[in-house]
């Protein structure tokens, strides 16, 4: 069985979109998994044709199997290798791309095989332009992983490979205490920017979030730098890309690298004290004013 597309998986099960894209190309789909065996089992039952599971020592992080992952893919070289956007998947895909000498694209909106060329519509430069790229030779794509694939049928066979890990091991894991979130599952999202002056003031946002059943997200500096929330809550070019019914941006200036993360939102509301803020060129409804007055007023108006 000659594999047409390989999916590269670390320790996350959210690979439904990768399987769907690989399937859409036609031909056999393989998956190589560098995480726990349970992840390999989820992938195997998710609609692929074969799975290679890299069995590494328990204290090895997925990245320690990078060479073994590249070996597995290179043994049955594909047209396309796909991975999700998580840090460990990026490392594994990098090893695969180096081994295959593949073209690497990270903004694919669509991919198709035309004869011996692979055509990718690829968003570039903060999604301000879409390039159609024709590639002759192997392609490595970084994509949104999607959700956990539902079990489809009896499941593919799992081939186990014993890995001699690269020289790295996990010596400690600490939790940061922030509640994790799946922003993609939220119908309504409130984004918090640096217009919110102090962490205590998030109480205002939380009250509004409760009133409209929204998840709270943020711009990058609020999660990185201010550390008011976990990094899984920041929206933007290198953070979450979401498409909720409603996105309400509070105290967010509206820079490109944030707004590309919400272009799919059905309705966008912006609240900012600066009438010239870029946010107002991206909103359906704009409110120029003091968020400390407007946010509680909106919460009250909902009651």
């Amino acid at each position: 069985m000659s594999v047409n597309a390989w999916i590269v998986v670390a320790d996350q099960r959210e690979v439904g979109n990768l399987i769907a894209v690989a399937r859409s190309l036609g031909g056999p789909v393989g998956a190589v998994v560098a995480g726990p065996r349970s992840v390999a089992e989820t992938v195997a039952s998710g609609g692929v044709d074969k799975v290679v599971w890299c069995h590494a020592p328990d204290d090895a992080p997925p990245e320690a199997s990078a060479r073994a992952v590249a070996d597995a893919v290179a043994a049955d070289p594909p047209r396309v290798a796909l991975a999700g956007r998580n840090p460990a998947e990026r490392v594994l895909l990098g090893a695969v791309a180096a081994r295959l000498n593949a073209a690497v694209l990270t903004g694919a909106r669509s991919v198709s095989l035309d004869g011996d060329r692979t055509t990718v519509v690829n968003a570039v430069f903060g999604d301000i332009s879409d390039e159609t790229v024709a590639v002759s030779g192997p392609v490595a794509l970084l994509l949104d992983g999607g959700s956990v694939p539902p079990a489809a049928g009896p499941g593919a066979p799992i081939e186990e490979v014993t890995v001699a890990p690269l020289g790295m091991k996990v010596v400690e894991t600490r939790t940061h205490g922030f509640e994790t979130v799946d922003l993609n599952a939220a119908h309504r999202v409130i984004g918090v920017g640096r217009g919110v002056k102090a962490k205590e003031d998030l109480a205002l946002i939380e009250a509004l979030a409760e009133a409209i059943e929204a998840e709270i997200a943020c711009s990058r500096p609020v999660a990185e730098g201010l550390n008011w929330m976990g990094k899984d809550r920041y929206i933007g070019s290198s953070g979450a890309h979401i498409a909720p019914q409603l996105y309400l941006a509070v105290g967010i200036s509206g820079q490109l690298q944030h707004m590309v993360g919400v272009t799919g939102a059905e309705t966008i509301v912006g609240i900012n004290s600066d009438a010239n803020a870029a946010i107002f060129s991206h909103t359906d409804y704009g409110l120029v004013g003091d968020l400390y007055q407007l946010v509680p007023a909106i919460t009250a108006a909902l009651k």
Binding site: T132, G137, R220, V288, A300
Partner: protein, 258 residues
């Protein structure tokens, strides 16, 4: 110990616009150190000071990356020297090709124990050059790195994972991509900039590096400005916050957003 910081001298798409035909107009943009690279430089500089290591900057790219203003900006942030490949053929290079060139530069420098990069480049933001580079070198890579301490052969690396932090011990050479908040970069002062002007700058000829040819050839066959959902762009009068709130809530209910 020898540490390399791989950095990029480029423009911010925030200052670019897409023309109706999808081509990108960079004419208003001014090149600079890519946004997150000063973080990598600061992280690397602290480690180099602690470990008594040499700190070498590496950048590869099209015309401009070897300009004195570019190397001075990098050297002013505490690098001991820079090694640069400036070649116009790299303007349209893909991630794999850039990584292959950086790998050859690292082999040219020799005895490199660690490569540190920023989180992502401000222009392409693929986050893939460090990981392909690691693949080229046969080294392990770790992304989202928040802290690095120790010595070559015994590095203690912390990286962000969903819900927390993981501490890794790395026993050989490695490529580390710093998280955007791994260190607070200092703005170089006059003293650092004057010192930067006296530090060594090595320009390498791309053809002399013997970079293997790319295995995949990319051809751009079309460009388009992406369709954006049309926004209403309605401003709600906020003179009376309560009235503004009521108007917004009514509008959102009518739109089915609440």
């Amino acid at each position: 110990m020898r540490i390399v910081v791989a950095y990029k001298w480029t423009c911010d798409p925030e200052e670019a616009t897409a023309r109706p035909d999808g081509t990108v107009d960079w004419s208003r943009a001014k090149p600079g150190l890519s946004t997150y690279d000063p973080v990598a430089m600061e992280l690397a500089r602290r480690l180099a000071e602690e470990a008594g290591a040499e700190l070498v900057g590496v950048t590869v790219g099209a015309k401009g990356v070897g300009a004195p203003i570019a190397s001075k900006a990098a050297l002013g942030r505490g690098l001991d020297r820079v090694v640069i490949v400036e070649d116009e053929s790299l303007r349209e290079a893909g991630r794999s090709e850039l990584a292959a060139v950086v790998a050859e530069v690292i082999r040219h420098i020799g005895d490199v124990d660690l490569v540190i990069t920023g989180d992502s480049s401000v222009d392409v933001a693929a986050k893939m050059v460090p990981t392909v580079l690691a693949g080229e070198l046969g080294w392990p890579a770790v992304a989202e790195v928040t802290s690095v301490t120790g010595q070559a052969g015994a590095l203690r690396v912390e990286r962000a994972i969903p819900g927390g932090v993981q501490v890794l011990q790395i026993s050989g050479p490695a490529v580390l991509a710093a998280s955007a908040d791994a260190a607070a970069p200092r703005v170089p002062g006059m003293k650092e900039l004057l010192a930067a002007a006296r530090k060594p700058v090595e320009l390498l000829d791309l053809t002399a590096l013997k970079v293997p040819p790319a295995g995949a050839v990319m051809t751009v066959t079309g460009r388009a400005r992406p369709e954006r959902k049309a926004r209403k762009g309605q401003l709600i009068d906020t003179t009376d916050p309560a009235a503004a709130a009521a108007e917004l809530v009514a509008a959102l209910r009518a739109a089915g957003a609440l």
